[in-house]
Symmetry: C2
């Protein structure tokens, strides 16, 4: 049973005297048959808690510098209309009492805590976002990551890896943007795809008849999952895998290490003139590298390896991911700028609905 948590806050223009506001609010709260406790705050304003018989809890704080905060917690099955009325009554009373001194009133949608279906998936830059998720379609703790498929009314099924929103059915623009569809020509080229276990990129690249495709993916998305994200995923058995496609179900780090070593012929196809790298690695897939203690280290290792592997002419397309991930971007830019002939790069932004931020894409040109 989930807990609904309501907040109602009043920002005031000046300091506030609790004696002038509290008694009238108490008269409303006393009607609720709750047990009141007034707490000693050591001079930090007024603080009272009210506990009801049905799990209800109200916290009233009058912060003397000019802020009134009210919290109301109740169980999901409680009489929500009654509680809305209580909040309405408190809001109305405060509007009257503080008339002329209110800079802002804020009553947020209730935070639903401990619900069976979790709707809160913060962005990569730590902002609180509530999705319109109505059910969990699939959940698995794989050897490499926690995999969830959540259904959103507007985005369709969403793939969530280790708590990061990864791909939604509405995100076919992701495949288009990371491949540079309409701008890049893969025909006759040698292509290395890092990640992309949903199959979407592979399916699109194959259509353009490249000379050779090597795809390295540690954990292919289960076909059962792909069936749920059909608009953006592709079943491998629906891709005509010919002699010119090598699919390595491996960790990309040792593979890149081999590519970076000139003597290993198996992987040489990727370092020839005109090679394309489409890096669609999910940065959250860190469980597979226990030696790497954070995302930054993984990014750096990958950048180093790509630098060595792609020392000849080539192009790298990758997701800059989150608009606000500026640190990661700067780090990568600084790093890529250290190529013997600095790799010129460009970027384009694309609106990726399910990410709740503008997603940026990088294109690096190697000489």
């Amino acid at each position: 049973m989930a807990l609904r948590h309501y907040t109602l806050d009043f920002n005031l223009s000046t300091a506030v005297d609790s004696a002038s506001t509290v008694p009238d609010l108490l008269s409303i709260l006393h009607e609720q048959e709750m047990t009141e406790t007034v707490h000693d705050t050591n001079g930090h304003g007024y603080l009272a808690t009210f506990v009801g018989k049905n799990g209800r809890l109200v916290i009233l704080r009058v912060h003397s510098h000019g802020l009134v905060t009210i919290d109301l917690q109740c169980y999901e099955g409680d009489n929500i209309a009654q509680l809305d009325n209580l909040l309405n009554a408190l809001e109305k009373k405060l509007n009257t009492l503080l008339n002329g001194n209110i800079a802002r009133t804020k009553r947020l949608p209730a935070l639903v805590r401990g619900a069976k279906v979790d709707r809160y998936w913060p962005t990569a830059d730590g902002r609180l976002i509530e999705y319109d998720i109505d059910r969990v379609v699939y959940e698995e703790e794989s050897a490499y990551q926690n995999i969830k498929i959540l259904h959103s009314q507007q985005f369709g099924n969403i793939l969530v890896l280790n708590g990061d929103v990864n791909l939604a059915e509405s995100d076919s623009s992701y495949t288009q943007a990371i491949m540079g569809s309409g701008k890049e020509n893969y025909a006759g080229k040698e292509v290395l795809i890092l990640g992309g276990g949903d199959g979407g990129i592979l399916a699109e690249v194959v259509k353009q008849k490249p000379k050779m495709i090597t795809m390295v993916e540690i954990s292919f998305i289960d076909s059962a999952i792909k069936e749920t994200v059909t608009k953006t995923c592709c079943q491998l058995d629906r891709v005509s895998v010919g002699n010119n496609i090598v699919i390595l179900v491996e960790d990309c780090v040792p593979v890149l290490k081999k590519i970076a070593t000139p003597l290993v012929e198996k992987y040489q196809c990727m370092v020839r003139t005109g090679a394309f790298v489409v890096n669609s690695l999910c940065i959250s897939i860190l469980k597979s590298h226990p030696g790497l203690d954070n995302k930054k280290h993984f990014s750096r290792l990958l950048t180093d390896l790509l630098e060595q592997a792609l020392s000849t002419k080539g192009r790298l397309r990758r997701l800059r991911r989150c608009f606000n991930y500026t640190r990661t971007v700067s780090l990568a830019q600084a790093k890529y700028g250290q190529f013997s002939s600095p790799a010129p790069h460009s970027h384009s932004d694309s609106c990726m609905g399910s990410y709740f931020h503008e997603a940026g894409f990088h294109l690096f040109h190697f000489k």
Copy 2:
């Protein structure tokens, strides 16, 4: 001074015995020199509050059906690293105590309450969304609406009317989508623009050399504001307003009533064959219609008037606005479907970054 509100929740697979979890948590909380109060919950689990000397407040609840919730409130200027450590310690201890019984742990980004710059702007369908807003550029209480310009790192300046996110600098796709750019030809047509006080639609329509443009806007966005949202707004003095443009700074409702009355010649231009209506009205602009007590009534009145005004051949393009606004959409569809020759309509979706939802656009064809 804002209040930071942290939450840490544990969903359990089975019911929980507070005696087995509470003492170990208390040993951590007792180190914080806070005053403890254990509350009587009438059989609704364990509830204790802890008040610190510096305005800190901790609420510990062990809901017996299988949920542990912890709230921590502190002032913005408090020692955040120390409080992170406290939450880390509580999370670690609970992970040990409840090992094997944890269905989900959720620690959300702190809710910042009463901050000078408000980052929380819920969507039209009532979901909690935190924007990356770093400053208030402008604020005004006009006769018709509350106008704010907020600066977002990713969306640029955002225009917020009566608390609804309206237009951001990153939203030039809005003008393109509502006009049906690339699909519609406005050359030689008679065009009615409802709303659009930012000037963006007018500036684009003018370029296509229509025969006549009538624009009805109750409250043009101040030029000072337009200067801050330059990428999507347009100053009227930069539009070459000729004899074929009528700009009515009026409430559109009486204007539409006049259009709907065949004898009023002044407005007849809009009901001729081939008329285009671009409806960019902001539904939040209700203060101007005190007689209309909610958005539904306003929508209905508008729909009725448009039905009468556009009884001849014509096209109406309008924002369906929010993907999840399904009720409004159904209402409008039902209504438009009642035309003597039912108006066929199509819609297209466009990702509107700053709205935090897919935005849909409607095109109605009148015969």
